[in-house]
């Protein structure tokens, strides 16, 4: 994939994180009738159940943005074909694992898996 495409996704996911992150924090703070109830078990379960898809999208955007950003930082600090390939693959694998583990959490909350 061309670098311009990668960076376009990087910028879009960045904008997406700002919007969805705000929704995420708003839900965590105000869901269930206010700040006092926000961290009650029933409120948290409701929030995750009702907005599971939103959390999954936030997870996908965050995973790409964070791991690609980390790749850019590491390849800027040190250069070399082998090193850059190793960094790219290592972070792709780490990002994939993070996304899968996060998805599992969302699916548990949604009751899809036990």
């Amino acid at each position: 994939m061309k670098e311009s495409k990668v960076m376009l996704i990087q910028y879009l996911t960045g904008a997406f994180i700002i919007v969805l992150g705000a929704v995420h924090f708003a839900l965590l703070t105000f869901a269930g009738g206010g700040y006092d109830n926000a961290l009650k078990f029933s409120t948290v379960v409701f929030t995750y159940t009702a907005y599971g898809l939103a959390f999954e999208l936030l997870l996908a955007a965050l995973t790409f943005h964070v791991f690609n950003g980390f790749r850019k930082v590491l390849t800027e600090l040190h250069q070399g074909r082998t090193y850059e390939r190793a960094v790219t693959w290592a972070l792709a694998l780490a990002g994939g694992a993070t996304f899968l583990w996060g998805t599992r959490t969302v699916l548990v909350f949604l009751g899809v898996i036990g």
């Binding site: 061309k2 311009s4 376009l8 850019k72 390849t75 800027e76 600090l77 250069q79």
Partner: protein
Amino acid sequence: MAEGQAVGRVELKFDPKILEGLGKPLKTVTFKVYRFDPSRGEGVTYSTYQVPIFRGTTVLDALLYIKERMDPSLTIRYSCRMAVCGSCGMVVNGKEMLACKTQVEGLKSDTLVVRPMHNLPVTRDLVTDFDAFFKKHRAVLPYIIREDVDVNIDREYQQRPEEVVDYLMFANCIKCGLCYSACPTSATDEMFLGPQAMSQAFRYVADSRDDGHRQRMDVLDSPHGIWNCHFAGSCSDVCPKGVDPAFAIQQLKGLLIFRSGYLKKKRPAPNVQQKRELVPER
């Protein structure tokens, strides 16, 4: 009159008689000059000199004064003395500038620390090696590319005045390397093209006569190309010719992401012969 001395190297007495005929100096400024000679294997040292400053004395004048009268071993690169050739770029008190264009009085300091440019290997003293710099410059194909006509024919291309404005600022680049030295990304990423090469790429992409943007964009749209620019803007800040490389890089990013259609449709300006064929003369 203050005494001239070279710390850690040779010690020369300053003879006040050499000032006869030069008028009265405004003040004496201490120059701490970076010294490095790879053949000596001593590493980097700083030599200190007391230099009399007159009205209009430039940093280059002062360095040549040191070289002529105090320490002939000081190595400097310069040529035109009028901010045209771009040979005498260096870092004075932490900021990149052309020694020939910078008047000592204007720096408003009694001590000047002079060192070679950053991000380029030092050949000796204040002289840096520009090989990597020009290699990156050549990588962006800094010339008019035409596939439809022979560029060597002696017919001019049609270009309106407003089309000249699109790239004129970037044509003022004298390849002095100051922007490259000031760039924080070039400091960590030695494969980064650097602001000079990228602004020159934009200079030709924005030129209505050029048809080489596809080849050029392939170079720019790479892992160590325009996307590594952090938009610090220090390149534009230090340019002695008023070129704005940071602006050029942002324009290139915009062209690649939002206006890729424009690049696909872009057709180069015809030359005189082609225009006659398109619009027959009456």
